[in-house]
Amino acid sequence: MSKDSPQRAVLVVLLTAVVCSSLVSAAVVVLRPIQLENQMLERSRNIMQLTGLLPPDRVIGDDEILDLYKSIDLRIINIDAASYDSGIDPGTFNQRRAQNDPELSVAIPTARDQARLGRRSRYALVYLVWNEDRLDRVILPVHGSGMWSMLYGYIALEPDLNTIAGMTFYEQNETPGLGDQITHDYWLEKWTGRQVYDDQGNPRFRISEGTVEPGSANAEFEVDALTGATVTANAVTALVHYWFGPHGYQPFLLALREQPPDRPAELKP
């Protein structure tokens, strides 16, 4: 078989394909469990930052994070029915997958779709943080279209279900240096203590157009603007309005206020 014969070309290509695909598959199979553990850890770390359970003065290790995470009450809620759904395992529920599943998701009416999502999952995984037998925080997943990318975050509420205890964006791809300021701690810290709803129960929280004047009428509902990131900031306002509006978590939060949940007996203290 000469070096440039067609048979030889086919043989070489086949051999290369077999050898290379075996190597790649082996790497993926061997490393997959470690990667899944990393994702789990990353998500736990994001949640833990909002629980108020982390010691503020030191960085804590991975094992401790996973241990603390076990003390959080994970619940699947049916957003439309404003109720808990015990039929789905919180450990395996994937909201992003659910969002694309016609069975598990619902189209958002255009007039209500401030966050430009199109569809949303009927279910959401929410996190309840308990302090002894008292509900301490409720952490809700939120997302919405930013300027370039989908913004994914968690928002934590105080037990009054109106005061923001903390906010984090764990995934976004906005302009570096401008829109990505939404992930900066110095800005996210300004969310703490702000109110979501006005007296009539409508979402009033927003990102301001400038600096918020302390003591002004809107001061408790607004967070300072981000220089050069108006589109991203407006998207953040829109996603808060959607998720706390009547098509989002509002019915669930009202139900939660009417009937506070009980601390599960089996939960780790």
Partner: protein, 218 residues
């Protein structure tokens, strides 16, 4: 060329970025942080060494008709394996670099060295050449990233060196340095500096301007 020269020539004299102007895509995209640039440098150098070594090892068996196909398959496999390793052991870095690690497949330096060196030389030379080119690329990335992160954010590898004005310090950060165009400027200045130092790198003009027809003043 001695083996030492094979290694040192691509560092400055025939630097893949500033002389051949290859690998610009990633040099623009990820150099806004020194940490990502270092990881990218290590990733690219590793891919380059693996692909040059593998291609040099099989070069005598490759029919020239399917040469590129086999080269790209080898490069893509090396990149995918590195990508998986990063996602497993450096998840933070993998998230920051996201798609740019996979894009090493299309980095012209890798295919360029496979064609220009690995197809014609033994494994030892090919590996040295890969190391030299990888480090030449890394050198430019590190210089660009140092300038960009320091002026754009006041930090280096995430450590705060300059206190920001809006946090009570003195440094007014310049967001332009975090955007891709600044990398163009910085690489441009680097090319200028290197060509002033080594004038032999200057390209000859592609054509001579035609003299304008002489017109008599009226």
């Amino acid at each position: 060329m001695s083996s030492m020269q094979t290694f040192t020539t691509p560092l400055v004299k025939e630097n893949p970025v500033t002389l051949h102007v290859l690998g610009i895509c990633s040099a623009l995209a990820i150099t806004n942080s020194l940490t990502s640039s270092l990881i990218m440098s290590v990733a690219l150098t590793t891919v380059l060494v693996i692909s040059n070594a593998a291609i040099s090892a099989v070069r005598h068996f490759l029919p020239s008709s399917v040469r590129l196909l086999v080269q790209i398959t080898i490069i893509a496999s090396a990149v995918t394996v590195i990508d998986q390793f990063l996602a497993a052991f450096m998840p933070e870095a993998a998230r920051t670099l996201s798609v740019y690690i996979s894009l090493i497949v299309t980095n012209c330096i890798v295919l360029g060295r496979a064609e220009a060196c690995a197809m014609k030389n033994g494994m030892g030379t090919s590996i040295l050449d890969a190391l030299g080119n990888g480090l030449g690329y890394s050198l430019i990335l590190i210089i660009v990233a140092t300038i960009r992160e320091l002026l754009g954010n006041g930090t280096l590898m995430g450590y705060r060196l300059f206190e920001l004005a809006h946090e009570g310090g003195w440094f007014q950060e310049n967001a332009l340095f975090l955007l891709a165009p600044s990398a163009f400027f910085i690489i441009g200045f680097l090319v200028w500096a290197i060509r002033s130092w080594k004038p032999e790198q200057k390209e000859k003009p592609d054509f001579k301007p035609i003299p304008l027809p002489y017109r008599e003043e009226r």
